[in-house]
Symmetry: C2
Subunit: 296 residues, 2 copies
């Protein structure tokens, strides 16, 4: 039982974490910390948090658990602020989409607390944000990846695992660098590509006409381009080396398609599209089989 | 009233066109022509067509209306096959995703029938295919773009417009080259980009791991990569010049983002993401407003 949970950054993820632990009766009091007073007031009104604070240092002083759920770009500053005030037994975890940088920041700013800092990444993004978007079921059947530090105590890792399971998530453990490479490929790069496409279309003098003819394919392809610019700027910067590698691999693949298209090479285009279509439909089929197997 | 409609290519679009006109009581007999006997049998069993044929030339001999709804790559061959057998009054329209090529093919293969060949593009794609996917409501509230030929009679254009309206579609008229540039940007390029991403991910030695961590963002971004490889190969080849232009503009945009990322230029990344997010969310909001205004 967590007597006091402090959530720093009461958005979709932080708010849903609080609601999920409350629903399970696993937490006593929840204090929300954030930059936006309006968002904290909304979180209070919605019962996502029990108390609002704009003083992270004061809030963590008697906390049992701290979730860092603000944009990755604020992670270092917040860690430095809370470091001198963390009780020795307090578990610190985070919800950042990149993990090597969080590990590095923790080693820099929370050096004396590393046994109890277990980085994590709940795979439950959505383009909505703010406390209003939070819901207790968000993590049900989703995966949370933990990337434990070598300095972590076994007990802290177990406690973090149990907490995310209590939220409804399946918990996996990975090396931070592996995590960052995987998510550069399947999450960060697609976001960059979608932002680039919408930015390009919106820059045209006939943008209104173009958007008026955009249909469901464009809508789904660009859904992630509606995501928070600040959050994704921070993620891209935090995962820069892996994302640059992915971007270069993708550009090479695109260049090969361009060469095939320019040469009107029907076979090469067909093979590439067929490989992709086969892989995409196989993946979807496996997702559906998994959905049939699981309660949700 | 159309006494005999011949649909060549009884897939999602061709089948739905037949069902929509049947629902409206605007058509007598529907003959479906296609390469796959199994698909034609299914179309018959589902009542999408009244008669199946694998002889396009014979089928059009007493037709009042012919819809060409097979992959764009077969357009020329089919036009050449039916040309000597079309009754003078028979309206020919098509459902191809590219229009300059259809106009050129019509001028080549249907030269003596050009008053009655009105190219069209119903904006109602979906990744499903085959007669089984057809439904009478597919075009409700969707847009069909007609790209009339200068040779068309006013009556033929009016008849094509009326027919697509009867199917439930809003009908717009555009120049074929403009059409192809618009759809290269908002449809063909996104398909190419999605195919490239899935092909790249699937080519990795750890593809299974990558797919296992792919979440809803990846799912929506890549939905269109599950589309028919044959259809999209044909579309890309048919719209090659416009698609190459769009691809080059996109690569330049992506190169600029790579430069910003490589330089850790937070401001440039943020501005690009913000422009895209603003445009994307503005577009979605306008779609929602439009949805509230319209019956569907």
């Amino acid at each position: 039982m967590i007597t006091k949970l402090v959530v720093i950054g009461v958005g979709l993820i932080g708010g849903s974490f609080a609601l999920a632990l409350k629903r399970a009766g696993a937490v006593g009091r929840v204090v929300g910390v954030g930059r936006s007073r309006a968002n904290l007031d909304e979180a209070l009104a919605l019962g996502v948090i029990d108390e609002a604070s704009q003083d992270a240092a004061g809030a963590v002083r008697d906390a049992d658990l701290v979730l860092l759920a603000m944009p990755v770009g604020q992670m270092g500053t917040v860690m430095a602020t809370i470091a001198p005030h963390l009780p020795a037994h307090c578990l610190v975890t985070d919800a950042g989409s990149t993990k090597s940088d969080v590990a590095a920041l923790a080693r820099r700013h929370l050096a004396s607390h590393l046994t109890h800092v277990v980085p994590g990444h709940p795979i439950a993004g959505a383009e909505q944000s703010g406390a209003r978007a939070a819901r207790a079921e968000l993590f049900n059947g989703r995966c949370t990846v933990l990337t434990p530090l070598s300095e972590n105590s076994v007990e802290a890792i177990q406690q973090a695992t149990d907490l995310w399971r209590t939220c409804g998530a399946e918990v996996l453990s990975m090396d931070a660098a592996d995590h960052d490479r995987v998510f550069a490929a399947v999450s960060h790069l697609p976001h960059l590509l979608a932002f680039a496409l919408v930015d390009e279309v919106a820059s045209r003098s006939n943008a209104a006409e173009l958007f008026s003819f955009a249909a469901s394919g464009f809508r789904d392809f660009t859904r992630i381009a509606g995501s928070s610019p600040e959050m994704w700027r921070d993620i891209c910067l935090a995962n820069r080396p892996a994302l640059l590698d992915e971007l270069d691999a993708y550009r090479a693949r695109l260049d090969a398609l361009r060469t095939a298209l320019d040469a009107a090479d029907a076979g090469a285009l067909h093979h590439a599209f067929e490989r992709a279509s086969h892989a995409r439909n196989g993946w979807t089929a496996s997702l559906n089989r998994h959905a049939e197997d699981s309660p949700e």
